[in-house]
């Protein structure tokens, strides 16, 4: 399914100095006029310098690649969530994006107060799980609350996936179904519930966080899983290199993803705090299984 992903088995070695690059040249985001462009950010709301620096990289990308929205994969705010905290940990670091009209669509992580679902800039409208159609291309997102996957939510998800006519169905949530993070790792119980639904409904990519690293998982049953859990937090050397799951992993700098969907292709760049493209590639859309 993946192609043009150089260095697919490369796991950059942890070094304290400069970020490592994947071994081969990056695949550029094509930046086509009518494509749908978005970013993915997770585990970010620390208010510290590294978060701001990654925010600056997001603003730099926006200047040349006009993405319309950001999906967050949880742990949006660490610690206090008072008005001054929300400013320091969210509104200020992403001010250029917010000022440019980029919308954030949040999902919640284990460190988040559920009151965030009412925070207007997270566009959750009081819901802890929800779906929305992208403004362009044939794309629908499904923001899940993996802290609280009650039966009602699973039934809702199945119903919404059944009803969705969009070619691209993109779930995102906090806890990774597959991860080489040495702190948390794969969420096997959650996988047992969600993966069959994703397979049944032709899901091609899944975005998650939780482990404070960047990892692109080798396709699992045809689905590519991303762990984008280093949007502010970082666990240096936090990748377990023996899981056999990793296509590309990066655990020495903060990372976000820039993504572009054009018809049946999804292009991605994983961009570090220093602006290096540490992973990139093209993913072809999986076709929904015929009944």
């Amino acid at each position: 399914m993946l192609r043009a992903v150089p260095g697919a088995s490369v796991v950059p070695q942890a070094k304290p100095a400069a970020p490592q690059q994947a071994a081969a040249p990056a695949v550029a985001l094509p930046n086509r006029a009518d494509s749908f462009k978005f970013a993915v950010l997770g585990d970010f709301g620390t208010g510290d310098r590294a978060q701001y620096q990654l925010g600056e990289q997001m603003a730099k990308l926006l200047a040349r690649f006009p993405f319309e929205l950001v999906i967050t994969v949880g742990d949006n705010i660490y610690g206090g969530e008072r008005p001054q905290d929300m400013k320091k940990k969210f509104e200020d670091p992403y001010k250029p994006l917010l000022d440019a009209g980029v919308k954030f669509y949040a999902s919640l992580g284990n460190h988040d107060d559920r009151a965030q679902s009412r925070y207007k800039l997270f566009n959750m409208e009081g819901r802890t799980f929800y779906t929305f159609k992208a403004p362009k291309e044939d794309v629908r997102f499904f923001a899940l609350e993996s802290d609280y996957p009650k039966p009602e939510q699973i039934a809702w998800l199945e119903r919404e996936l059944d009803n969705a006519n969009e070619a691209w169905k993109i779930p995102y949530f906090h806890h990774p179904l597959y991860s080489s993070g040495d702190r948390h790792g794969s969420h096997v119980e959650l996988r047992e519930v969600l993966e069959p639904l994703f397979l049944k409904h032709g899901v091609t990519v899944v975005f998650t966080g939780h482990d404070h690293v960047y990892e692109r998982i080798k396709p699992q049953n045809g689905i590519t899983h991303f762990v984008a859990g280093s949007g502010g937090k970082l666990r240096r050397g936090g990748l377990d290199r023996k899981t056999g799951l990793t296509a590309v992993g990066f655990d020495t700098e903060q990372v976000f993803l820039g993504v572009e969907i054009d018809k049946d292709q999804l292009f991605f760049n994983a961009i570090s705090r220093t602006g290096a493209i540490i992973d990139s590639g093209i993913i072809e859309r999986r076709k929904e299984p015929q009944p």
């Binding site: 107060d113 925070y119 409208e125 802290d147």
Partner: protein
């Protein structure tokens, strides 16, 4: 609804039913399991707290779907003030009472001593630096300390909670958090082994 983050398996939890079943006096022995009795009492105390919470929460306006941080904070503090007034004089151990405490500690120690115990402790300690903070029943949860992870292996074994309450950890202490009011309802020290 149960509460506590990282609760990816709450849909698998039959705990409430188990507790009720355990609390029933054995037909043969005509004897109450003290552990089940302690849990049943804990559940009843939680229920009473939630009734109070709901009664007080009904007095304040609901948040709009698109609120500002100030609106969220003000509502949280307004609810906290009502609860703090209603529970004036509340002390540690009112909900984690003397019967429940040893059982909960034993339960948690059992989990943390298990094969995955070290990893679970590390997971809880992430973003939970073990700062020395003075905990106060009915006091605001410290704004400097991120909510801890509560791994599913831990959560599935703890008595289930309604949506208004969550389990959290600060250092080795188990916190019962009012998630809407952001206050500490009760706490249990020594809940996690060193």
């Amino acid at each position: 609804m149960m509460t506590g983050r990282d609760a990816s398996v709450r849909f698998l939890l039959p705990a409430a039913g188990i507790i009720v079943a355990l609390a029933v006096t054995s037909a043969h022995q005509q004897r109450v399991n003290p552990q089940a009795k302690a849990l049943a009492t804990f559940q009843e105390t939680v229920k009473k707290y939630v009734e109070l919470h709901e009664q007080l929460e009904s007095k304040i306006a609901d948040l709009p779907k698109e609120a500002t941080p100030a609106q969220i904070d003000q509502r949280q503090r307004a609810l906290a003030a009502l609860i703090q007034e209603a529970r004036k004089g509340a002390v540690v151990g009112e909900i984690f009472d003397r019967e429940a405490r040893p059982y909960l500690r034993k339960l948690l120690y059992g989990i943390f001593a298990g094969p995955d115990g070290k990893r679970l402790r590390m997971s809880i300690q992430e973003e939970n630096p073990g700062e020395v903070v003075k905990l106060r029943v009915n006091g605001r949860y410290p704004d400097t300390i991120p909510f801890s992870t509560v791994p599913p292996q831990v959560l599935r074994n703890l008595p289930p909670l309604p949506e208004q309450l969550e389990y959290r950890f600060i250092d080795r202490t188990l916190i019962l958090l009012d998630a809407h009011a952001h206050i500490i309802v009760d706490y249990l020290t020594g809940a996690v082994p060193r």
